[in-house]
């Protein structure tokens, strides 16, 4: 086993292969969740889900529960009014987190989750929307939750979602000159050689195109000169 990260890749020149395909299944049974020792009371929000169903009807797709946490899947187009409703009518004034998930499936490949908290009601809710690869547009919630600004930029940077009406659509971590979205499953762990040139490793050397040259099958540049080895001396 030369490469412990991917035992099937015998030839490093081969394109990286994905070993696991995610199929959401095994919906947890109701009696399972009570025995999770870390379950919290704050993450059960049946009243809020009822209110959402009354207000938005079919836009609330389904509800999942695991470890006492309610996840509400909602329609992508309705995410902004739903967030506004939660903030103004249900007291979820505090925005905690937003991020993407790449499920690597044919349909509805991506998911975006929203983690919202109501400090007065002591409740936490998770919303999820499904995003298809064909249409990466997601309505931005920055005008509802200002704190979502950087999180949406990060999600765009890492997955390539196009947040409609985002006030500042720049990358968060990677430089603008980079053209990939690294948290997508097809992006190799060691990066794409040449996509992110780094400074030369010797004072008068070439730019470092591939920081993991050895893993990609070529000789890495050394920042020092190795002493000449004399094979006869031993």
């Amino acid at each position: 086993m030369s490469n412990p990260d991917d035992p099937r890749a015998s030839d490093p020149q081969d394109p990286e292969e994905l070993r696991f395909h995610f199929t959401p299944s095994d919906e947890p049974k109701p009696e399972q969740e009570t025995d999770n020792p870390h379950a919290k009371a704050t993450t059960r929000v049946p009243e809020v889900i009822e209110a959402l169903r009354d207000e938005f009807g079919a836009a609330v797709l389904n509800v999942e529960r695991y470890a006492n946490e309610d996840t509400v899947y909602v329609e992508k187009r309705q995410i902004r009014p739903i967030c506004r409703f939660l903030k103004e009518d249900e007291g979820f004034t505090y925005f905690v987190d937003l991020g993407g998930i790449d499920n690597f499936t044919e349909e509805d490949r991506y998911e975006v989750f929203y983690n919202l908290v109501s400090p007065e009601r002591q409740k936490r809710i998770r919303l999820k929307i499904r995003v298809d690869e064909e249409d990466m547009r997601v309505p931005s919630v920055v005008e509802v939750y200002r704190a979502a600004n950087w999180n949406e930029r990060e999600a765009y940077d890492m997955f390539g979602f196009e947040f409609v009406d985002h006030p500042d659509p720049r990358r968060m971590y990677m430089p603008e000159d980079f053209e990939y979205h690294p948290l997508r499953k097809e992006f190799p762990q060691l990066g794409v050689p040449g996509s992110l040139p780094l400074p030369p490793q010797t004072p008068d050397g070439e730019l470092t195109m591939d920081p993991f040259a050895a893993a990609h099958g070529s000789k890495p540049v050394k920042s020092y000169e190795e002493p000449a080895t004399d094979s006869d001396s031993e």
Partner: protein, 451 residues
Amino acid sequence: MAQPQKPDFPGHDLGDQFRFWPKHNEKIYERLESKHAWLEEKQAAAQGDGEPPVTQKSELDPLENEMILNIGPQHPATHGVLRCVVKLDGETIEKSVLDIGYLHRGIEKLAEHKTYQEFMPYTDRMDYLSPYSNNVAWCLAVEKLAGIEVPERAQWIRMIMSELARISSHCLWLGVGMMDAGAVSGFVWTFQEREEIYSIMDEVAGARFTVSHSRIGGVSTDFSPRAIEMIRDFVDTFPDRIKGWEGLLNKNRIWIERNKGVGRVTKEEALELGLTGPNLRGSGVPYDIRRFEPYLKYDEVDFTIPVREEGDCLARYFLRLDEMKQSVRIIEQCLDRMTEGPIRADDAKEAYPSKDEVYYSMEGMIHDFMYTDVGTVPPKGAHSYHAIESPKGELGFYLTSDGTGRPWRVRINAPSFTNLQAMEYMMEGSLVADTVVIIGSIDPVMGEADK
């Protein structure tokens, strides 16, 4: 393999010279210009040919006061590699844009290629000022995902060590904060206390800095009698040290005037900007995960959550000092109430076997091998979020499992990231000299913000 070409940036004839990320910098400056442009300027520009009229142009900046300044990324006051691009009018900051990502290592991606236990040392390198809290946060998140119960003694040990980590992190914040305001000697005093905590970490975990002591399903080693003695000594002497610092700072005119009214955030703004941790509580929002969603044994010990209403740097200073006192209280109660017992779950699928078992029994060795190779396997399709109150704020992990030993997706909700976002807003309208104090009081750690 073909010889790679030099990067070609369209529209930029750089010749032989290579500059890093011209597009990136261009976008930052564009953003700085377009950020809340004044309405009058826009209207005047719309009437003419897009340019503001000549008369107004000279009025805009007749004395040439305006200037764009890059603070960081390499600057001691930015506490790491934070780059602030600010537009100054004289000494006042008109607009500010933060550029982060200089320490981006992609640990969310790395986590997808590691077993749950293998990823734990990476969390040390996130908030490297309080590694133990990160270890605990990760382990609790995995334990929630896989439904693993942790023995009671391990929970007490984790609590004591996370509170020590909180004190250690706040000590650094205070020392560096004092140094930012010009008091260099304070840095040495707070680092003396950090040094003692390092020695405790060394005694407990065998490492001073990046401890990696917590394990999924428990902790790696039990406290030695010497460790308990050291912790008791520390909590006995530490309140006196805080008193000493308070004596130095509470009536110090320079300290008060550098901090009071600087970087003020109201309660509504704090919620809207998504501040977390001491910064949020400094603005009057009593949101602390230890109360909101009690984990470990925080619902069984007696402590208060300090909250301040003022929302400026001084409030955050008082609040963090109070937090350290509360941490001492928590540690004392934990030491008194700690029970004897196992320190790791007794199940080969949930936690590592003890070293005795590994060395002296066949089954132990097999279990150790299997746990290293496969590790904990949460059910397929499971996803859960677990947060702890780290010294910087809410540190949460949202994990998705695909039914293998490696996480399908790890989402890290890093408190420094959320706090920095609000800092961009706080800096606008303040003086250049105050940015240093504001950065210090927000207490960002770039290792965590950049992931």
